[in-house]
């Protein structure tokens, strides 16, 4: 579905991604794990068009998306939830969600309200707080809001960057569960970036381990989880 081939992304002279090739499979959760600075976030940011690669290709359903703007990539069905509970604090919960559906207003007019209602059903706490400013939400609620903002565009592929960052284990579990359920029930494909490898490998079908911008392992998640040597070498436990 999403195919990445020999991708290189630089920031000035720093090479953040150094020739990555990998895939995200349809209706599966693929997780990208690795230590801080492995290039995980840059990989997602390059896919969604926020960063431009210096070489390599990204193919989505047979079409190259390299060089496209983020606002057009989301129209193709790839939604990105960047790191750090990316919501707009000065806007209300409701506004943050409907923001994600603005571009569908014309073509899918009758689907806007149902899509927003689905988000409230997925995360009922957001419905209770829909008139509040996003800045007043807890970290977990903000992450739910960021995910809703992305999902309301009805993507086929969700790029999820460190949803567990700074959240209590119980909240992380709840969010990961919701995403997992969504993937299994609607066929949504997920590319999940995590530093917390155990959580990610527990839910994913496939795992890609990155170190210093390169792929060191690309295997079924269960195999990756069982490989104690690899974990010790690259994740430190």
């Amino acid at each position: 579905m999403l195919k990445i081939d020999n991708l290189v992304t630089r920031f000035g002279s720093v090479v953040a991604i150094d020739g990555i090739s990998m895939q995200a499979q349809e209706s599966k959760i693929t997780t990208v794990i690795g230590a801080n600075g492995a290039g995980k976030s840059t990989l997602l940011r390059t896919i969604s068009g926020l960063e431009h690669p210096s070489s390599g290709s990204i193919t989505w359903k047979g079409q190259s998306i390299v060089g496209m703007r983020p606002e057009n990539i989301v129209r193709l069905g790839i939604a990105h939830v960047p790191e750090g509970h990316a919501v707009i604090s000065e806007l209300s919960v409701e506004e943050n969600i409907s923001m994600g559906s603005l571009f569908r207003r014309r073509k899918f007019k009758s689907d806007i309200t149902p899509a927003i209602d689905e988000m409230y059903a997925l995360f009922p706490r957001l419905k209770e707080r829909r008139k509040q400013l996003a800045g007043t939400l807890s970290g977990g609620e903000r992450q739910m809001l960021a995910i809703s903002r992305a999902l309301v565009s009805r993507p086929q592929l969700l790029l999820l960057d460190e949803p567990s960052l700074g959240l209590a284990p119980l909240v992380v579990e709840q969010i990961i569960d919701s995403v997992n359920t969504l993937c299994r029930s609607t066929g949504l494909s997920v590319l999940l970036v995590e530093q917390n490898a155990n959580t990610a490998l527990g839910v994913a079908d496939h795992g890609v381990l990155l170190a210093l911008g390169k792929v060191v392992a690309d295997r079924p998640a269960s195999e990756l989880k069982a490989d104690a040597k690899l974990r010790a070498a690259y994740l430190g436990y």
Binding site: S48, E71, P82, I88, E90, L91, E95, M99, S153
Partner: protein, 303 residues
């Protein structure tokens, strides 16, 4: 008592115009995250266009409409050809730091102001000319006294009220209004949400351009038109926007009326020479007591 009424009515009519200027500033701030000092240059330019049309025999309302449209067009052009390339960080090493990225467009807007004033001087010569009002400029008579409040002032106040209502509804109730706010607040999240941020910013500039042209059309009948006439209005309008809170349309209008009153009462009860002192005192007081402005939200002020 008569002095009081006179001061009150002058304050209202002046306040309405400052409110409109402040409103224009708020629109660009909310839609593009920029304080646009070129705004009154744009207003002056489109008022000259209206003035030229009237001089060539067109009716006031044709000229009025032409000024609004040319104001919108000029705003859009300034964004597309100057502001957009400047904010494109790939093109400029200068913009690598956050503070520079905020400062560069503001400095550019000052440059645009100078350029527009010079260009207007070249095209229309620098001497002052009059500009007509669409309604009578004779004061209403109350209990045998002529007030400095005219039919034209009624027109001004109504237009400002209407603009405020439309702007507020536009920002809070429409999709494009939401897209504008999102773009100004967080470009990255806006883009990831599918908002075409470049186009959205251009729309903000166009709307603000039309609003400031409106301010230009409404103030010039009482001041006269020259390339520099609107500088003072911009200073007061900017102060009004800051006093009201840069991101709040209602605050901008409130700030406009507060300053209108302050200026008017100082003029009547003290001397006109103290007007600037009073404006600065109000600005200072608000910045010390409530830095975000009367109705501004917490994170609004970054510049």
């Amino acid at each position: 008592m008569n002095t009081f009424l006179a001061a009150l009515s002058l304050g209202t009519s002046r306040g309405a115009i400052f409110a409109l200027v402040a409103l224009g500033l708020v629109i660009v701030w909310r839609g593009a995250g920029i304080v646009n000092f070129a705004q009154m240059g744009q207003a002056m330019f489109s008022t000259y266009i209206a003035s030229t049309l009237i001089a060539n025999g067109y009716s006031y309302w044709v000229a009025f409409l032409a000024a609004l449209l040319s104001g919108a067009a000029l705003g859009a052009l300034l964004d597309i050809f100057i502001m957009r390339p400047l904010s494109n960080k790939k093109q400029s090493e200068l913009l690598s730091s956050e503070s520079m990225r905020a400062a560069v467009p503001v400095i550019a807007s000052l440059g645009i102001l100078g350029a527009l004033q010079a260009l207007a001087g070249i095209i229309w010569a620098a001497e002052e000319r009059g500009f007509p009002a669409p309604a009578k400029e004779e004061g209403f008579t109350v209990a045998g006294n002529v007030l400095p409040f005219t039919s034209f002032d009624v027109f001004v106040v109504s237009i400002v009220t209407l603009t405020l209502i439309v702007t507020t509804l536009f920002f809070t109730k429409t999709g494009i209004g939401l897209a504008m706010r999102a773009t100004a607040l967080n470009q990255e999240v806006a883009k990831l949400s599918g908002i075409r941020t470049n186009r959205t910013r251009t729309i903000s500039w166009a709307i603000s351009g039309a609003a400031s042209s409106l301010a230009g059309l409404l103030i010039t009948p009482t001041s006269n038109l020259s390339p520099n006439t609107l500088d003072l209005v911009l200073i007061v309008g900017f102060t009004a926007a800051v006093v009201g809170g840069l991101d709040s349309p209602v605050g901008a209008v409130l700030g406009g009326f507060i300053l209108g009153m302050v200026i008017s009462f100082v003029t009547f009860y003290d001397t006109p020479e103290d007007v600037f002192l009073a404006i600065l005192a109000v600005l200072l007081a608000v910045l010390i007591i409530r830095p975000r402005g009367i109705l501004g939200s917490k994170d609004a002020r970054r510049v």
